[in-house]
């Protein structure tokens, strides 16, 4: 029911985006010493969110229908970080990754706060108050 409201959809989308980005960043940090590993990132939320909305999703109304492929996996696009390459071919920079992690945290905080606030507004409008 709440999916229909744009604000909930957007806040939910941002929360999901931050958790998948967090996963990618954790992968980069874990592989910070792996020879030949190239740092990965995912496209900015503004791009992925719009892309999700414009694309008409596959509708599955019966069990036999082809389901929409998992959106999360298509999300992750290989983006080389502009950092320097180590002699062993690794392009992960711990500092950049830490910065991205802080960014993810702010985004998730924002998404959840917006969600929570919208929820209490909705409750208020239903007459239940806080």
């Amino acid at each position: 029911m709440y999916d229909k409201l744009e604000i909930f959809q957007m806040a939910g989308g941002l929360a999901a985006y931050s958790s998948s980005r967090q996963s990618v960043i954790a992968g980069n940090i874990a592989n910070a010493d792996t020879p030949g590993y190239r740092a990965r990132d995912i496209a900015p939320f503004s791009e992925t969110y719009r892309a999700d909305n414009n694309e008409a999703p596959l509708r599955a109304t019966r069990a036999g229908h082809i389901a929409q492929p998992n959106a999360d996996s298509t999300f992750i696009r290989q983006i080389d970080s502009p950092g320097a390459t180590a002699p062993n071919g690794n392009t992960v920079s711990l500092e950049t990754e830490m910065m991205k992690a802080a960014e993810v945290r702010v985004h998730q905080d924002l998404a959840l706060s917006v969600y929570q606030t919208s929820l209490s507004i909705l409750r208020t409008s239903l007459g239940r108050g806080r």
């Binding site: 958790s19 996963s23 954790a26 992968g27 874990a30 910070a32 010493d33 020879p35 711990l94 959840l112």
Partner: protein, 130 residues
């Protein structure tokens, strides 16, 4: 939510790999004065599952540093040859300590990612508590 668990798994694998690296470094340091000891080195690699990289990291094979062992002149040493020399170990303490520092730094980065993922999921679950 599955992204969060993936993040935790990836960070844990990174911490495990760094801890193994630190163990080898400490073995090297402990044996810095053992005659004929060759320095142990190891690399990291991505964990593969069914031919695909899972994003997790693991330690590769342990290899021995094939650099020449230094000749140490000490005629009173039980292992000394007819010229009074014996093979020392090729451990360089400066290199080992630098390696230990790097391992520590990477471990901390992984730990921070782990902690952040945990906090993010806690924050998400708090939405349900209200």
């Amino acid at each position: 939510m599955s992204d969060m668990f993936q993040t935790l798994a990836v960070s844990a694998s990174g911490m495990k790999a760094q801890a193994t690296r630190l163990r080898h470094v400490s073995e090297n340091i402990a044996n810095a004065d053992t005659p004929g000891y060759r320095r142990k080195t190891m690399g990291f690699q991505q964990t593969m599952e069914a031919g695909r990289a899972t994003g997790l990291v693991e330690t590769g094979r342990v290899q021995l540093d094939q650099r020449e062992l230094p000749k140490i002149f000490d005629p009173s040493h039980p292992l000394a040859d007819e010229n009074g020399n014996y093979d020392g170990s090729n451990v360089d303490l400066v290199v080992e300590i630098a390696d230990a520092r790097e391992a520590q730094r990477s471990y901390e980065a992984n730990l921070r990612m782990f902690d952040q993922a945990r906090q993010m999921s806690t924050r998400l679950l708090e939405l349900l508590r209200r």
